[in-house]
Symmetry: C2
Subunit: 275 residues, 2 copies
């Protein structure tokens, strides 16, 4: 897994160079997507590219055509002879002069890398951290390069021996994990915070909501007070790499592995196996 | 101005390459400083390096010694034969494996670039934007690479014909500009929001507070409601490049060029001219 795509070419990673004036590096002026490939096929690639395009519109950033990005993503998988693994699509506004205002004629940087899947646990522990997610910024709803808040949140959880950080928003309600969305089971109903709460609109999150609807499972997007964590009978995390993983411990409280989590995990896996 | 410093070497910018796996690029995992050189000397370099070190401690990131960074900054000025201009010191956590958690043995990237000074106006207009600054994150008090919120805020102000964006924090009180600190004159007293409000602890801001104290001018750090903007008899912006610049218009309301602004501007310039 040593080859990547950079601005139109497949290169050895060691031969790929980023311009030191790239605004992605200097100002986090860009976006990314992380997705998973199954049997050589990126799962829900169209949804990821639609989210990328929506983010680029918010940033006022031009974007290559979705078909070009999709072809490049597949080329990276093939160049690395990788059937299953993760893909990361990184878009920046490219190089710019000094200062915050974007250049008038930006030439975006598009980079796509692949990696083998990390080993994934059956369940994860999580901790509600002090750092709050800012629902008053559009970035809370974009997968932008400005990910340092998430790193700090995860470091805080990791220092306490937890695998994931759960972030509240500035109103003190539940938002999402540092790199996952959170679902709770409350009185038998799946619940996750709406995007307006400062939540990343995860593609796996959307997939779970769609699967629940297709299979007659009650699910709702609803504002969740922090106290809902203590009331949940089950909880799980989602993202495109981990799919659906049970939370077995939150802030020191043990949670059972419940039937709804197992059901969604199974449905998600079935969806990824579709031809 | 084509030479930069990168990880121990002075290079032509065109020969300087950033690793595509650098966490600064991928996750905004790093910090920067912008400062100004006068007559070949970076102004308040020690204060900038102290702020950088404080930020690195929050991020848990190792940092070269201050004396090494200072020597590199001076080397960049000399290599570009630049007496007056701006310097940018960029530190990232360096390359890392996939994922948010930092590598256990990071090898930071240190880059220093220089640029001629842009032409600076005598006064600027500003607008209070909708995006809020998150005082619930340590990043609101660090000059981290996660600068995309600031870009979005400035784009919003720029679209309305204003030169700077003023950000409120999530409590609706005044924080700072997209790349400046804000001072108001309220009943004859200089006032600026305390760092705890989600304010970047600007070095120029600190210099102005120190100069006010040294010269017997009343100044205070105090929480400022958004309504204070309408009550101010004068207002000015500070940062290390613009020094002290009057605000002549805020949200469409004209402000006079006042005596306290002129006095601080003069004192600041005198301070930069000191041997």
């Amino acid at each position: 897994v040593s080859k990547l795509y950079l601005n139109g070419r497949i290169l050895e990673a060691s031969a790929a160079h980023i311009d030191p004036a790239d605004r992605g590096l200097l100002l986090a002026d860009g976006l990314f997507e992380t997705l998973r490939a199954y049997d050589g096929r990126p799962f829900r690639l169209e949804a990821h590219l639609a989210r990328l395009a929506a983010g680029a519109a918010v940033l006022g950033m031009p974007l290559p055509r979705a078909s070009e990005i999709a072809a490049a993503a597949n080329a990276v998988l093939q160049a690395n002879e990788l059937g299953s693994g993760s893909l990361r699509i990184t878009m920046t506004r490219g190089r710019g002069p000094r200062g915050l205002l974007p250049p008038t004629g930006p030439e975006p940087t598009l980079m796509i890398t692949a990696a083998p899947l990390p080993s994934l646990p059956d369940a994860m522990s999580a901790r509600v951290v002090g750092l709050r997610r800012n629902e008053h910024s559009p970035l809370s709803r974009l997968k932008s390069l400005a990910y340092l808040d998430n790193i700090l949140a995860l470091r805080e959880a990791d220092a306490a021996g937890c695998a994931e950080a759960i972030l509240l928003n500035t109103a003190g309600r539940i938002a999402c994990g540092s790199r996952s969305n959170l679902f709770l089971v409350l009185e038998g109903v799946l619940a996750t915070a709406p995007v307006s709460e400062g939540v990343l609109p995860g593609i796996a999150r959307q997939t779970v909501l769609e699967l629940a609807e297709q299979h007659g499972l009650l699910a709702k997007e609803v504002a969740l007070p922090a106290s809902a964590l203590a009331e949940a009978s089950e909880a799980f995390l989602t993202n495109s790499l981990i799919e659906v993983i049970a939370l077995d411990r939150v802030d020191g409280r043990a949670l059972p592995k419940g039937p709804l989590t197992a059901r969604l995990r199974q449905l998600y896996r079935q969806a990824t196996a579709r031809p």
